[in-house]
């Protein structure tokens, strides 16, 4: 009888519950706006996954008038260079005006993850100059992707 009780106590430990999955994602290493000529450019990774990553740019100007014309948006994911799917239309920004631009970068997110490529570099070039941002994967330890605390 005592053995049966022991067995009943031991069995539930064989059926552990797990929490929902967490996913690795990309983020900017620095989160401060950058000045590129007369442009003030900020941005953040809004989505990332198997298909690549999507970045939102927030562009404004401290000047009275500043032309906004993007020439290059290129992501280097550990040696794999990817261009943004499309570049935004040119515009003229006035003081106090802000525009937001969405830039999708398609690449094999699974392959980058499986090959342990955790750092990326983003090059943004405008008519008024260019800047480079570093991106990192927010999941430093691969095991964390499967740590599922209920």
């Amino acid at each position: 009888m005592r053995k049966l009780a022991l067995l009943l106590v031991a069995l539930p430990s064989c059926f552990p519950m797990e929490g929902p999955r967490t996913y690795p994602s990309w983020a900017r290493a620095q989160t401060v706006p950058t000045s590129v000529g007369c442009l003030r450019v900020d941005g953040w990774v809004v989505q990332s996954g198997k298909q690549g990553l999507g970045l939102t740019l927030e562009v404004s100007t401290p000047s009275d008038v500043c032309p906004f014309s993007m020439r290059v948006a290129e992501l280097d994911v550990g040696g794999e260079r990817v261009q943004a799917k499309s570049l935004p239309a040119s515009a003229t920004l006035h003081h106090g005006q802000t525009i937001w631009v969405y830039l999708p970068f398609f690449f094999d997110g699974d392959r980058a993850w499986n090959e342990d490529r955790r750092a990326a570099s983003l090059r943004l070039a405008f008519d008024s100059g260019e800047t480079r941002w570093e991106l990192t994967n927010t999941m430093p330890d691969r095991n964390l992707c499967e740590e599922r605390t209920p």
Partner: protein, 210 residues
């Protein structure tokens, strides 16, 4: 000691080795679709890509009896040890938050390979022990609504190394834990064999993202 050995497998019943592999960890995103509000500094949570995996079921038998033509006195045979391994793969649309063997087991069609140790009683206290037969089956498992009780049916071949023949197995009980089984086989040397036995089941699972 003998009682302890008899009881030991019961403690192992229904236990799992559950391992997450780390490949393909990113989730699914719709990159072509811009976020609904570009001004919001939020991160869109990826959707669950589902998962796939491999499960190996190990079935241990320590208590079985049989009847076969090769016995010396009355044809009885004792089955003090049988081990069977049955691996299969699975794919799921949603990642699990619970143990998955029961979900993966329901409806599984899988190969199985097994080996028995047989003891034939002879006159007096004398016995003859032999390793065999081996069997290869294709098995189908069906669980009931609560994913605990169920049946397993299998069909394949059995071999005494020199001879071969068809074999069929039916098990009932809780496939995740313990089952009562019956097996019939026919080989050219031993002719008809019938066995009844209890299996204690355990699982090793490897799961990774799709």
């Amino acid at each position: 000691m003998r009682r302890l050995l008899c009881f030991a497998p019961v403690l192992l019943v229904g236990c799992f080795v559950h391992t997450h592999r780390e490949t393909n960890a990113p989730g699914n995103v719709e990159l072509a679709k811009p976020p609904p509000d570009l001004t919001e500094r939020t991160r869109i949570r990826p959707t669950d890509p589902g998962e796939q995996g491999v499960v190996v079921q190990g079935s241990l038998t320590l208590h079985g009896v049989g009847w076969t033509h090769v016995g010396q006195d009355g044809h009885e045979v004792f089955l003090p040890f049988m081990l069977e391994l049955a691996p299969w793969t699975f794919t799921r649309e949603k990642s699990h938050t619970n143990q998955i063997s029961n979900e993966a087991l329901d409806g599984a069609v899988r190969p199985a390979i097994g080996l028995a140790l047989r003891v034939f009683p002879k006159s007096g206290n004398d016995t003859r022990t032999e390793l065999g037969p081996m069997w290869y089956e294709v098995q189908y498992v069906s669980l009931d609504k609560d994913k605990f009780g169920g049946v397993m049916i299998g069909g394949g071949v059995t071999t005494t190394y020199k001879h071969i023949g068809p074999q069929a197995t039916l098990c009932m009980g809780a496939p995740l834990v313990i089952q009562v089984c019956g097996r019939g086989a026919w080989t050219t040397d031993e002719h008809t064999t019938i066995q009844a036995f209890v299996t204690y089941n355990g699982f090793a699972e490897w799961v990774w993202s799709r």
